[in-house]
């Protein structure tokens, strides 16, 4: 049986009357990439802040390698590398100086800090820009440097909060490569994202969160299988009220439907039967279809089935 590294039990976190995390429990085992998938405002960031010890839970507890986060925060913080949503960089410092600064905060002596900084800059292909001020870096370079700051003290556990938000698709794929490398090196990773493809590709298990709760937790394959014999029909149409189109297509949505602005996603059992009916209905209602595709179910379809809403 795999060693449990992170144990989250019945965690509740409130901001005044708003319940951001509403009794969440799960375990993360060693060398696992654990995905937290959910839309913005689902409570992912709050939950991660509780896990890294930045916020205290109102109820429940979190232990890292058996150590309680609230009672022994410093011990836990040394085990964790944290990449927040924003780039935690000081623009007037160089890339190397930023890394040495974070290393020093973790108590690493200066010479050792410099050595590790050089290694990480090389790993992320930033060695030529090491002496440049961060204010001169591109968005992708800053994100890579931010990930390097999370790794500077060689932590066993990495908490990555929306690591690829705002990056272009190429840079996003490069980032996925780094996360896979970390998993191969035996690091345990918790990754929050609202990109279903990212959770699907990187995670060994995914917890889908909404409104502060975990709706479902399993491997991406099992989650998709849980939909049953459904296929997904993705329909893009000329900008009309998405909800209106959703109403027209409701009768065909055997597994669920979710629409926003100019796109709807409909879960059906038999797409060969459903597609002609859908096109005919939309045509007769005056809706102009821009694109229609039939796809294998994704994690987003799981989310749609559970909440009736899309992820992004």
């Amino acid at each position: 049986m795999s060693e449990v590294v992170i144990e989250v039990r019945d965690v509740v976190k409130r901001y005044g009357d708003v319940v951001a995390v509403a009794g969440v429990s799960f375990d993360v085992v060693k060398s696992e990439v654990f995905g937290l998938l959910g839309p913005n405002g689902a409570g992912k960031t709050t939950l991660l802040n509780v896990i890294v010890g930045v916020l205290r839970p109102d109820e429940g507890r979190v232990t890292i390698k058996g150590i309680d986060v609230v009672s022994m925060p410093f011990k836990v913080k040394k085990l964790i590398g944290f990449l927040p949503q924003e780039n935690p960089l000081y623009p007037w410092l160089t890339g190397e100086e930023n890394l040495v600064l974070y290393a020093s905060i973790y108590g690493i002596p200066r010479d050792e800090a410099k050595r590790r900084a050089r290694e990480l800059l090389e790993l992320f292909g930033l060695e030529e820009d090491a002496k440049k001020r961060v204010s001169k870096y591109s968005g992708g370079m800053m994100r890579k440097l931010s990930l390097a700051t999370a790794l500077i003290h060689d932590p066993e556990i990495l908490i990555l909060d929306e690591p690829t938000t705002g990056l272009d698709p190429n840079m996003r794929r490069e980032f996925w490569g780094y996360v896979n490398d970390l998993r191969r090196k035996g690091k345990t990773v918790i990754l929050s994202t609202h990109y279903m493809e990212e959770a699907d590709v990187l995670s060994s298990r995914v917890a889908i969160m909404d409104k502060g709760k975990i709706l479902v937790l399993d491997t991406p394959e099992n989650l998709k299988k849980s939909l049953g014999p459904y296929a997904s029909i993705n329909i893009e149409f000329k900008a009309i009220d998405g909800e209106h189109v959703g109403g027209l297509l409701k009768e065909f949505a055997e597994g669920g439907i979710a629409c926003r602005e100019d796109v709807c996603r409909v879960l059906v059992r038999n797409p060969d039967v459903a597609v002609p009916k859908i096109t005919s209905k939309l045509y007769s209602s005056g809706v102009k279809i821009v694109r229609l595709s039939v796809e294998e179910p994704t994690l987003e379809d799981v989310f749609i089935k559970l909440t009736g809403r899309r992820l992004e």
Binding site: N49, V54, F82, E86, N87, L93, E97, I105, G107, I159
Partner: protein, 421 residues
Amino acid sequence: MNWRAVYALLVRNIKRGFRHKDELFWMIIFPIMMMFLVAYVFIPPERTIMTIDLGIVNYDGNPAGFNFTAQDFMNILKNVTIDDKKLFKVKEFNSTEEGLRALKKGDLDALLVIPSGFTVNLTYSKAHLKVYILSADPMTKQVAEAELMGFLQGFASRTSKIKFQIMVKYMMKYVPEEYRDYIDIFIKYMEGIVEPVNVTYETVYPERMYERGHIIGWLAIGMIGIMIMYSGFYSGSLALISEREGGTLRRLFAAPITYFEIYITVVLDVLISTAITAAIVLTMSIFLLGAKFTWISGLDFAVIVALYILAALFTVSIGILISLVSKSVRGAAAIANGLAFPLMFLTGIWIPKFMLPPALHVIADYFPLTKIIDGIRDLVIYGKSITEVMTYLPIPVVVTLVLTAIGVLIFRRSVEKMLVG
């Protein structure tokens, strides 16, 4: 205490100071500029004589047959000097109207009208002069009035003495020998009428601050005090807000560091950045502006360091209070500046208290930072003993320590609030 982290954060802040031109300006250029300004504009190295643009209308001309005429009087005005500098730049006019037009246009500071008969009256009876002073700016008016009055009073006094001597010379020719003793009493009495009071002026300087160098030293300490105030207000108010806006706050607190270590970094940052300013201000004041300080003992130095730390704690605490009412870096900076700027002039730290209106003395009397800076001045400028300084320090020290305790608590609460928000 994670001193390695505190040191790393301090290095980060110092690098920011040296890599941002605006911070570099406030840390180095501004105090240098202010010191030069006060040293050469407000406390010039030499006595400055202002030359008055004086218009003269001479209706009396240069009558023949007199030893001293209106023209001679004009020539004196043209040539009179103090410290080799001419007192008046004279321009002649043909009529009073013409002269007044020039005065009203601002081409002159004053106009002097010599009426017809001036020479005859000066010789045989009582002469008259008319003076017009331009009231454009109060300072020039005061100086022109004082210089002209001084000159004319001196001229009148000298003239009356000469006239009296001439009178005595003629009188003695006709007084018989046996009445000379009685006449001497009469002459002495008459001398008293000509010059009733002979005043001698002598300037007395205080025991210590009697030279320009000491005044510059006083101002140098004031400049350092002002820099501590600005630095403390800014650092205290911006410390957490700038981390939050920069996106580094959560990352910092996900690392093994406490709010207290960040607070200590803020105080040390103020001490180090103002120490850099202080070193520059003191070096420049001593070697370029001739500032003079009293030689102090090791114990005095220890007290000065303690006062310096107290000043930083006090101003950082005020900065933290400012952060309570500001939600952004821009807002906090505006409030810090809006508070520090008037205090620069009202606390007696930079502008001496005696120059303030009496109603505003209360700020200088009760502002703890003023007392702390006064303590440093009393030791290094006035050469007072630690015992003398300690008589007025207990209250400012207690106030500072209470404010520091409140500041630390607010700082902690702000960290918690910002991490949640």
